[in-house]
């Protein structure tokens, strides 16, 4: 792993192009993601933030017409290589989606889903422990510990999203990708999630897509600004918000477009 100033580089994207059929969605993206930091991706909608995020755990494989070119190096390994094991990759890189999407199963089964697939627990007791720690880390344990065997779809929106976060961290991923995790939530639930993100960055590297610049400023240390499929500017959040190099960034930050 390379060093960059004080922080280790966790993910490094090199010359990434993405196509949906004939239409190019991302143009030559080069971006380093630092370990144990929160990186925010901002930009007007349709600029390719989600597309970039989905490159990092090969979720674009699910879309037939989507083609990804270029290198994405994680732990010194190019995940776009043919030899990459997508199952292992997604074990290491968790994802939380825009709309909370708990499985129509019990809370317990929602959390134990990942560990079961990856064979992480030898006994019921171990599984119970994983479920408990995951829910505790997601700050949901106190609210749901008495109803672990009720359906996950019965929770409130904010609780559901924290359940999805718990589900993602149940397999102890190194990186967590979050695609507008708060866009379907009310301000209180949003504040809870933001607090949680701050807590999680101690153990995980977090990349969060957000359309709220205030949120990016609050939770992130690094920010990348996308526009029309290009990465216009990236750097420390402070610099991007206070003193951006590019006028487009300046315009977007000050709300002149987007």
């Amino acid at each position: 792993m390379r060093k960059n100033g004080v922080n280790m580089i966790k993910i490094s994207a090199k010359n990434v192009d993405v196509f949906y059929g004939k239409k190019q969605a991302l143009f030559n993206i080069n971006l380093d993601i630092e370990e144990n930091q929160v990186t925010a991706l901002i930009g007007p909608s349709g600029c390719g933030k989600s597309t970039f995020l989905r490159c990092l755990n090969r979720m674009n494989d699910v879309i037939d017409i989507c083609k990804v070119q270029g290198e994405i190096v994680i732990n010194d390994f190019n995940i776009n290589d043919k030899g990459c094991d997508v199952v292992r990759l997604r074990e290491k890189i968790g994802m939380v989606f825009q709309k909370p999407n708990p499985f129509p199963k019990t809370l317990y089964e929602n959390i134990s889903y990942g560990p079961t697939i990856h064979g992480m627990a030898q006994s019921k007791q171990e599984m119970d422990e994983i479920v408990e720690t995951s829910l505790k880390k997601a700050a949901l344990w106190e609210e749901v510990k008495d109803r672990l065997h009720e359906p996950g779809t019965g929770l409130s929106g904010g609780q559901q999203q924290r359940l999805c976060i718990a589900r993602a961290i149940s397999v102890q991923p190194e990186v967590i990708l979050m695609d507008e995790p708060c866009s379907a939530l009310d301000p209180i639930a949003t504040a809870q999630i933001e607090e949680l993100i701050d807590e999680l960055k101690k153990e995980h590297t977090i990349i969060i897509v957000t359309h709220s610049m205030a949120q990016a400023a609050r939770v992130s240390q690094r920010t990348g600004f996308f526009h029309l499929g290009e990465l216009i500017e990236h750097g420390s959040t402070d610099k991007i918000f206070k003193n951006p190099d590019n006028t487009k960034t300046q315009d977007y930050i000050t709300g002149r477009f987007g």
Binding site: G94, F103, Y113, C164, A168, V171
Partner: protein, 451 residues
């Protein structure tokens, strides 16, 4: 035709009003519809009334000539019938002068009626259109009457649908009640001998003797046969239908799906008679040959042949329903599962299938209800003797097949044998109704979950 013309007149006038800068209370089209309705409805009513009463009036007029000549009613009717026949040129008997004259009179009356009808209807059309046309102005309301009219038309249509259904159910109920007056309900539901042919023997002059029918209408063998054949059918249809549904929904590429889906829908459109003779002429004998080769006793009309072919008939039904259900599981659940590192088959097994299960159960229940109600295949392929057996190689019979057997040929209404068909129909109706209600409930619950 006239309706269209008046539609255009109405709209034109409305446009004219509009162009003179007055604000209309409704779109010009509404004025058009308004006029068209006024053109059609009164004329239609008059025309129908006319059509209903014309024959009676004509008859009265013709027969009034002979009314006081001492003919009997029957004779008068005969004269009238002969007159009509002669006028149409279909009369074969001897033409008397009486009939000749009355026939001329008849034709004369008819032509008068014809032309006066046209004139009157036209008058009414003109009058009512003129009335409505005059009423069109910038501020009268046309929207409400037009909307009310469409409301009424649609209401009448649905009322007709509902009333006929209710009527059918009631006729079923009454006949069934009559049947159970002769045959005790207990004997019907728990009796194990079904020989409706025995009821043929009765001489109609004999008094109805209920004891005669003990051991004739015991429906257990047919109920058992029905469920047995449906069971065999579902054994074929559920695994194949479900798997092909899953394949179509999850694995098939867009191209394959594009061709496979309509193809399966075509399968569902094959008439059941075709399946029926496929079962009776191909599958049945084939099974018999195989069985004989293996030293088994196989009837040419085996439950296995009928059930198997019925299963094939139901496959597209289950496949396309479960395909729909699986496709409607939100993509976000799949994404969530893939993002956890699950493979496709794990995702299907652990997330999609449980999520779709209620809908799948619903589609299976609908399939069962079809299997139970299916007639043609069993009539042709499963034999008509109601054996009480659980051997798939023997022949059995089903509710539907027995109804056919009973009602083919001459039947007397009010006969226990005929009424037995109604009782069977009633049981069938109850079973499929329950199945459908449960199935629709389940499916609806499932839909609500993802709304």
């Amino acid at each position: 035709m006239l309706g269209f013309t008046s539609y255009y007149f109405g709209r034109k006038k409305a446009y004219t009003i509009q162009s003179t800068n007055k604000r209309l209370t409704a779109l010009p089209q509404f004025y058009g519809y308004y006029l068209a309705i006024w053109c059609a409805i009164p004329a239609f009513i008059i025309y129908s009334l006319w059509a209903i009463f014309e024959p009676t009036i004509v008859k009265l007029l013709i027969l009034s000539d002979y009314a006081n000549q001492g003919y009997l009613d029957d004779e008068l009717n005969l004269i009238y019938e002969k007159t009509k026949a002669l006028s149409r040129g279909q009369f074969t008997g001897e033409v008397t002068s009486l009939i000749q004259t009355s026939s001329e009179k008849y034709l004369n009356l008819r032509s008068i009626a014809q032309s006066s009808k046209v004139v009157i209807v036209l008058c009414i059309i003109i009058a009512s259109v003129a009335y409505a046309y005059k009423r069109i102005s910038s501020n009268n309301r046309t929207r409400e009457p037009v909307e009310k009219f469409f409301n009424a038309v649609l209401f009448t249509a649905s009322l007709a649908a509902i009333l006929t259904t209710v009527g059918i159910v009631f006729s079923l109920i009454f006949q069934t009640i009559d049947f159970f007056k002769v045959i005790p309900l207990f004997d019907f539901v728990f009796g194990t001998h079904w020989y409706p042919a025995k009821a043929f023997v009765r001489d109609s002059s004999e008094a109805l003797d209920p004891t005669m029918y003990s051991d004739t209408f015991g429906a257990v063998p047919i109920f058992a046969g029905t469920f047995f054949i449906a069971f065999i059918a579902m054994c074929v249809a559920i695994p194949i239908g479900l798997m092909s549904g899953i394949y179509l929904a999850e694995y098939a590429s867009y191209k394959v799906r594009q061709y496979a889906k309509p193809l399966i829908e075509i399968l569902a459109g094959i008439p059941t008679v075709v399946y029926g003779f496929f079962a009776a002429l191909t599958v049945g004998p084939f099974l018999k040959d195989i069985g004989t080769a293996m030293g088994l006793e196989v009837s040419a009309e085996s439950a296995l042949a009928a059930g198997g072919v019925m299963g094939i008939m139901i496959i597209p039904f289950i496949s396309s329903l479960s395909d729909d259900v699986i496709t409607s599981v939100p993509q976000s659940l799949r994404d969530g599962s893939y993002a956890m590192g699950a493979t496709k088959s794990e995702t299907i097994k652990k997330v999609i299938f449980p999520a779709a299960l209620p809908g799948i159960v619903g589609s299976i229940l609908l399939g069962v209800s079809r299997a139970i109600g299916e007639t043609m295949i069993v009539v042709m392929a499963s034999g008509l003797a109601a054996n009480l057996t659980l051997n798939p190689l023997e022949s059995t019979s089903t509710i539907t097949a027995q109804i056919v057997v009973i009602l083919i040929g001459d039947q007397a209404f009010g006969d226990p044998k005929t009424q037995a068909a109604f009782a069977l129909g009633m049981s069938l109706f109850i079973v499929t109704l329950c199945l459908n209600i449960v199935a629709l409930r389940v499916v609806k619950k499932y839909r609500e979950k993802y709304e």
